[in-house]
Subunit: 205 residues, 2 copies
DNA sequence: CACCAACCATACATTGACGAATGTAAAAGT
DNA sequence: ACTTTTACATTCGTCAATGTATGGTTGGTG
């Protein structure tokens, strides 16, 4: 095959990753061959093995396109508002996360990671999920402790417990929505649930 | 090989299913061969193909050993107490479910179904999860509507919304625990979370 | 302008899982 | 006691997927 421009080569690489997302989501990671991915992108396995070492490497590259550390979500909500209104900061961070998840690429990759792949090669999706869970739970706990210090939390509710409740609720919502995103909008439903759950946390109903 | 008595044959069948549970949980469904399952049970693939048609059939048989319809959980909690105390009925049903999940067989099979298998043959774990979710959410809504009619719910909280909150929280807890059950006890943690979440739902804090 | 390496296709070797066919020895039936 | 069926073990053919090696064309760089 003829050599391509650097831009064209990068484009085919992206096309391969796009194809991987679609086929992985449709048929599951284990049941899709590199041949199927290549054909779906209009290429052959040669292209795949040029750009990626193997299936696990391609999978990792697919994940790297959607890395969103929690810090980015915090930065998106503005800044100094979190100092005196931590509960509102949590809500806005959640909204920010929901908005990202509605972008097809983010939704697809997370759905694949959580519902359409097993342990595989040197990639352990469960370990990744654990990391995500602990990170978000820790951040929630920080904000809720701040809220407790400011007297914005019910006195019979510890920030630790509130963080676990909220984290479990968010995790369940996340899983449910990723399972079939056509059933509801995570932005609407998520807003509703987070708002009300935080309302239950607040002092004086 | 020599023929075994009916009891012995049934025992080897159970042994094969036990082995399947362990190997599936350790290596994932797609990455384990029937050979590995058979060897782990001290047999060969011949035994597997005698008792089961193929991998999907074995998988289905494994699932059939842990079917627990929601109705059983309700029956376990006693009976007439649910009429005037629906919130307590919910709590007891959850406790009952948590207790079951701590039995190794139930825990393993659910962990496999949710975290260690993809779509596979004529088996769609996501569809099963959807069934489970809708069934439990519907039951929760029924009880919470009953609680609302009895004036046991906060007036600013619709039973519909409460059901979604609780269902998401339970689902998140479920997933988190199945991901690594060594981190905490679902019976303790589940009791704590359900109790407090229901407490937040109740009228007059 | 020349030449090399990038970029991808093609062909080939290897692996390993499945499933069916066959073997067989003891339990069940008669 | 004789036959039949059961409950496996063993072997083998097939096929799909992987990984590698090779070839061919052209963009990029000196």
């Amino acid at each position: 095959m003829a050599r391509k421009t650097k831009a064209e080569a990068a484009a085919t690489r992206e096309a391969l990753l796009d194809a991987a997302e679609e086929v992985f989501l449709e048929k599951g990671v284990a049941r899709t061959s590199l041949e199927q991915i290549a054909r779906h992108a209009g290429m052959t396995r040669g292209a795949v093995y040029w750009h990626f070492k193997n299936k696990a490497d391609l999978f990792q590259a697919m994940l790297n396109r959607v890395r969103m550390p929690f810090q980015e979500l915090v930065e998106e909500i503005g800044g100094p508002s979190l100092a005196d209104a931590p509960l509102e900061a949590i809500r806005l961070a959640c909204v920010s996360g929901f908005a990202r998840l509605e972008r097809p690429r983010y939704r697809r990759v997370h759905a694949i990671l959580i519902h359409h792949c097993e342990v595989f090669g040197d990639i352990d999706p469960l370990a990744m999920q654990n990391e995500m869970a602990e990170e978000s739970c820790g951040a929630l706990r920080d904000y809720l402790e701040s809220a407790a210090r400011l007297g914005q939390l019910r006195e019979d509710l510890s920030p630790e417990l509130a963080a676990r409740l909220l984290q479990s609720m968010l995790g369940g919502l996340f899983h449910d929505w990723l399972r079939n995103h056509e059933q509801f909008s995570i932005l609407e439903q998520g807003n509703l649930l987070v708002e009300n759950q935080l309302g239950l946390f607040r002092r004086q109903a």
